[in-house]
Every structure is written in structure tokens, then in C-alpha cells.
Symmetry: C2
Subunit: 235 residues, 2 copies
């Protein structure tokens, strides 16, 4: 069991391992299951990115034949859907936030959302395909409820939610796409200096080199929430 973790096992030894366990009937750990498949898919996506997830490689990591997956899953698409949603679970705000502090709650929810996606950079680029897993819906529901409690009128709720959603998704997306490897970053920097004659303003502001993404995210989010709070006060 401890050896299972070491990762560099040969295919054959995994087979033997499986054979040993197949004598007993406990569903302890080795047998294939949706849970294991999804968890391993997330690992693989973390390690190799979207293009690195191939059914054969996933099966390999699970120590099973490539086609075994298809009993648990219809498609590769479904693997993507499940992996995406599994990464977006929300555990709720910490106790340090008081329950009347709606702004604090919303802030935490959205920062956590962004953080969850950044922990798995592939998740951002997967979102446009099929977006509505249960965890995403829960997050939207909780966001709606919080804003509603905070006094946002039903008529304004959708705009508020979409604005926040758009901002978070866009920010994650942008961060994931600009946060390149160091090599790429160096190349981009070089190229940009050459281009700063053509694009003087963004050259001067160091727009593309400024990597305080977290700070920028919070400040922008503040702007949005200011707008919402003001609307709410006026309404």
C-alpha cells in the first residue's frame, strides 16, 4: 500500500498488485470507480495540462486497461466535466467572517473561487464547454442568496451576479493565460520592449509585466462591489 504512492511502479507490478487484491472482496481502494477516475484525472490534468489528458494515460495511472474507463464513463468529455466540477467545491466562509458582513462573505467566496481555479489552471480553459456542474450551481446559489440578503433587489440580482461571475472568470482566465513559464515570460518581456514604440502607453505602464495579479484582482473587485453597494443604497 505504501508503495502505491511511489508512482514509478512498472505496469507488470501493478498488475500483480491488482491480482493479489482480487482474491478478497473488500472495495478497499484498488477497484476502479468514478471517484478514483475523477481524482486521477485531476492529478493528470494538474501535471500535464488539458492536452496531456489522454484516456490511455489516465487508464495507465489507474493501473487498468484503457477500455475499462468506458464502463464508468461515456466520454472523454464526461471526464472533463467531472474533473472540472470536482475542483470547484466550496466549503463556506471561515468563522472569522461575521454573518452580517455580506461584503466580506462575497469577497471571500469570489477570492476562493478564483483561488480554486488557479490551483488547477486547466479549469479556466475548460469552463466554456459545459459549465453547470452541481458545485458551480451551489456557488451561484450561495452568491445569489448572500446578495439577496444584503438587500439587492430581485430585478438587479442577475446583473449583479453576472457581473461578479464575469469578473472572476475573466480574471482567472487572464491570469492563467498570462502566467507563462519563465522562458515564455522572458521572451514576452523582450518582445514587448521592442514593441513599446508601437504601443507606448502599455509599454510605459508595464501592463504586461506587472504581475501583482492578486492585488489587481482585489482592487477591481472592490470597484465592482462599490458599484453594487451604491446601487443598492440608491434603490
Amino acid at each position: 500500500m505504501a508503495t502505491k504512492r511511489s508512482g514509478a511502479q512498472s505496469k507488470r507490478s501493478r498488475r500483480i498488485d491488482a491480482a493479489l487484491h482480487s482474491g478478497q472482496e473488500p472495495r478497499s481502494e484498488p477497484p476502479l470507480s468514478l471517484e478514483r477516475i475523477v481524482a486521477t484525472a485531476v492529478e493528470l490534468l494538474d501535471a500535464e495540462g488539458v492536452d496531456g489528458l489522454k484516456m490511455r494515460r489516465l487508464a495507465d495511472r489507474l493501473g487498468s486497461g484503457a477500455m475499462s474507463l468506458y464502463w464508468h464513463v461515456d466520454n472523454k468529455e464526461e471526464v472533463f466535466d467531472l474533473a472540472l466540477d470536482s475542483v470547484l467545491e466550496y466549503r463556506g466562509p471561515p468563522q472569522t467572517i461575521e454573518s452580517e458582513d455580506w461584503r466580506g462573505e462575497v469577497f471571500h467566496m469570489l477570492e476562493d473561487w478564483r483561488a480554486s481555479m488557479l490551483r488547477h489552471p486547466w479549469s479556466a480553459s475548460l469552463l466554456p464547454r459545459r459549465a453547470l456542474g452541481p458545485n458551480i450551481l451551489s456557488r451561484l446559489e450561495l452568491l445569489s442568496k448572500t446578495l439577496s440578503k444584503a438587500g439587492v433587489a430581485d430585478a438587479d440580482l442577475n446583473v449583479a451576479i453576472w457581473s461578479l461571475w464575469n469578473y472572476v472568470v475573466g480574471a482567472t482566465f487572464t491570469r492563467a493565460s498570462f502566467d507563462l513559464s519563465d522562458d515564455d515570460r522572458a521572451a514576452a518581456q523582450l518582445r514587448l520592449e521592442q514593441l513599446s514604440e508601437r504601443y507606448p502607453t502599455i509599454g510605459r505602464s508595464r501592463l504586461l509585466l506587472d504581475n501583482d495579479w492578486d492585488g489587481a484582482f482585489r482592487k477591481g473587485l472592490d470597484l465592482l462591489l462599490d458599484g453594487l453597494a451604491q446601487d443598492e443604497a440608491e434603490g
Copy 2:
């Protein structure tokens, strides 16, 4: 030439067509070129989506052998990059907007940006891969310049630009992913009604069925610009 447009030409007739032209040396239209490749790639992407763009099919549309493309282009990736950037050209604000109206200018720029991407829904999902083509940089440059002229301090410029960029990208992205085919929409609606016990707030607000995306986009953008204008007034 007129027949070229009709689209349903057989492979053989296209070949003959090419043979007829090969007797002359004018580079009138038929010969392969980066421009033609990119334009045709955009057509193909519009018609078949990201997954529909295959090198062989692209070559077919161009009436050339599949491998001919590789003389003009390194990769399929490069085709994507070029197609994406080609779709994001900006022609500037209309004359109806006065040049001192920075808010109007910014508003137009961002609405146009979003509209351009929505005209080619695949563009949103391509953005995260490689984002910095010349047309995107021009748009960022123009946005920076306008905000700068409007009085946004250099120190706040990056936050302002990223906030707006994030919002636009997120909004386009979201819209593209939720604007499903009618079948899917009907299915989603049905499913959502079943789920509205579990997600009562978003069920009540009809969050996922409300399809006034354009209105929501404008209102949210107003919120952001309000925030920016206020910061600017305070600073």
C-alpha cells in the same frame, strides 16, 4: 469565378480550375497565401467550431493538398493564433462619439470588442492559449491611452485596464458558453426547474434563463465605469 462562391464544387473540378489558372502567372486569387489560409480558417471555425478545424479540411476548402499548408504555417497552433487575432481588428470609434467623451469611447471600444468575439464564438475559448496578437495589443494600447487621457493616474491604470479586460473577456466567455443551441437550452431549462428546489434563489431569479445578455453586459460595465470615475474624482 462566380462559381467559386457556390461552395459545393467537387474536388476534381477545383483541381481543373486550378490547372486552368496555372498556365498564367498572375497571383490574382487562387494561389495559396497566408491571408487566404487565415480567412478560410475563420470561415471554417465559424461553420464548425474549434473542433471542426482540421488541417485536411482546411486544405480541402482551399483546394490544395493537405500538406501545402505547412509551407506557409508552422503549426495548427499558428493557424489558431492568426485566426484569433484577425478577428479582433478594431476600426476605431464612430464619429457620433465626441473625442472628449472618454466614457463613451471606452464603452464603445468594449462593446465592440465583445461584439467582435461573439460574432465568432470560438474566439473566446481560444483566448487563453496565446493572447497577444497585434490587434489585441492595439486594443489594449488604445484603451490605455483613452483612460490615461481621461485622468486615470498611471498607478491605477493597470488595475483599471485589467478590470475592464477581465469583465469583457468573462462576459463574452460566459455568454458564449451559455448561449447553447435551442435543444440544449430546452434541456437546461427543464433540468433547472427540477433543480430549483435545491437552488431556490437562482431558480427564482431565473438567472440561467434570463437571456438579456446585452443589457446585463452594459449595466455591469456601467458599474465598473462608475467605480473608475469615482476613484478618479477622489484621486
